[in-house]
């Protein structure tokens, strides 16, 4: 999923200061699962914002709503009938949702309420970690299912580097060395032969280095 964390309240209060009537908009997808911008977080932020305003003797009208998905035009269209009544949209979705809103409602200010973090997985309740960097040419088949792009600090393809100590990365003893994990897993799979093969230099054009990416599926076009 795409992970996110709520922005600091001081920043959010700064955005809110100029408005009287906002739509606080959650998203039912990734940000719900990582407790950053789902229906519950919309409620928590609405309460906190409203308390902050009342304390200053001001009033902020906050409409709470959560869309099924903010990154999909068909769900964002839902707002077309009601959007006029709000001064601004405060979006609790990831950057994809914020931009879908901004693209559809061109004269309506949209503010992000979360800092979008990374594509990650849940390690346990309350902990998420980066797992995929979306490089566009997946190598997990050769690396025991552990991603050297997302999980090795240097993104090296023939690791480990000299900084690997007792299975930990030199950047932080709390970070596993991805190449140690790769080796351990290849050993468990009986596929250390994959490790002995030198991986060629990666073509990063399929990743972000090739400019903004898009997917076009001819079979699905309308």
């Amino acid at each position: 999923m795409i992970t996110a964390v709520r922005k600091p309240m001081a920043e959010i209060l700064g955005y809110a200061a100029q408005f009287d009537n906002i739509l606080l908009l959650g998203c039912n997808e990734c940000v719900t699962v990582c407790y950053a911008g789902g229906r519950k977080e919309v409620g928590i932020l609405a309460s906190a914002l409203s308390l902050a305003f009342l304390k200053e003797g001001k009033k902020l009208a906050i409409t709470e709503h959560t869309l099924e998905r903010q990154c999909d035009p068909e769900f964002v269209e839902e707002l077309a009938q009601t959007i006029e009544q709000y001064d601004a949209i405060f979006s609790m979705a990831c950057g994809c949702g914020v931009q879908t809103l901004a693209g559809r409602y061109k004269d309506k200010p949209v503010f992000p309420m979360v800092n979008t973090q990374f594509m990650g997985a849940s390690e346990r309740q309350g902990v998420w970690a980066e797992r995929c960097a979306g490089c566009g040419d997946c190598v997990l088949a050769y690396t025991g299912g552990i991603c050297p792009v997302a999980r090795c600090s240097k993104r090296i393809f023939n690791g480990p580097c000299g900084g690997s100590t007792k299975g930990k990365c030199e950047i932080d003893p709390g970070v596993d060395c991805a190449w140690q994990l790769i080796w351990d897993r290849l050993k468990a799979l009986g596929r250390t032969d994959l490790y002995s093969q030198i991986m060629p230099a990666k073509d990063w054009r399929t990743a972000k280095d090739g400019g903004p990416r898009r997917i076009v599926r001819e079979d699905l076009l309308s």
Binding site: L49, L51, A52, K55, G57, K59
Partner: protein, 143 residues
């Protein structure tokens, strides 16, 4: 404001604090009538949202009362409740309301005196802090 009578919402776990509140009554330990008890199946059922909504709707303070540490009927609900209380306290600090308006308390079912003393003490603390600024602003606007 000398005649300020705080309203406290006390989320009380039915396995301990709720029974303790009952015991306080039976044993004759008084606590202020502004302490309004909401029975919950476990303090771990209390979400950050419940605490914030109570304050948004005008409660002057919120108390979450669970079992003694290590004694949760559902293993660790009281620990999770304490984590949420800390989260809400930090958020309230960030918006200028102050984290002292929320309290986590632990007690066993037999501790009627502890419930009464904790609730009374928290009520006095909130009384000294003054009215929930949100409620104050709302009542000024209405006047």
């Amino acid at each position: 404001m000398i005649d300020f009578q705080p309203v406290i919402v006390a989320f009380a776990c039915s396995y301990c604090a709720y029974t303790a509140a009952d015991m306080a009554g039976v044993q004759g330990f008084a606590y202020p009538e502004g302490v309004k008890i909401v029975q919950v199946p476990c303090s771990g059922k209390v979400d950050s949202l419940h605490i914030l909504r109570a304050l948004q709707k005008g409660a002057d303070g919120v108390m979450v009362a669970g079992c003694l540490e290590g004694d949760c009927h559902f293993r660790n609900g009281n620990r999770r409740a304490a984590q949420r209380v800390r989260y809400v306290q930090a958020l309230l600090e960030d918006v200028g309301i102050g984290g002292q308006r929320v309290l986590m308390a632990n007690m066993s079912a037999g501790q009627g005196a502890v419930f009464a003393a904790t609730a009374s003490h928290f009520w006095e603390t909130i009384r000294a802090l003054g009215q929930n600024p949100a409620k104050l602003a709302a009542s000024r606007a209405a006047a």
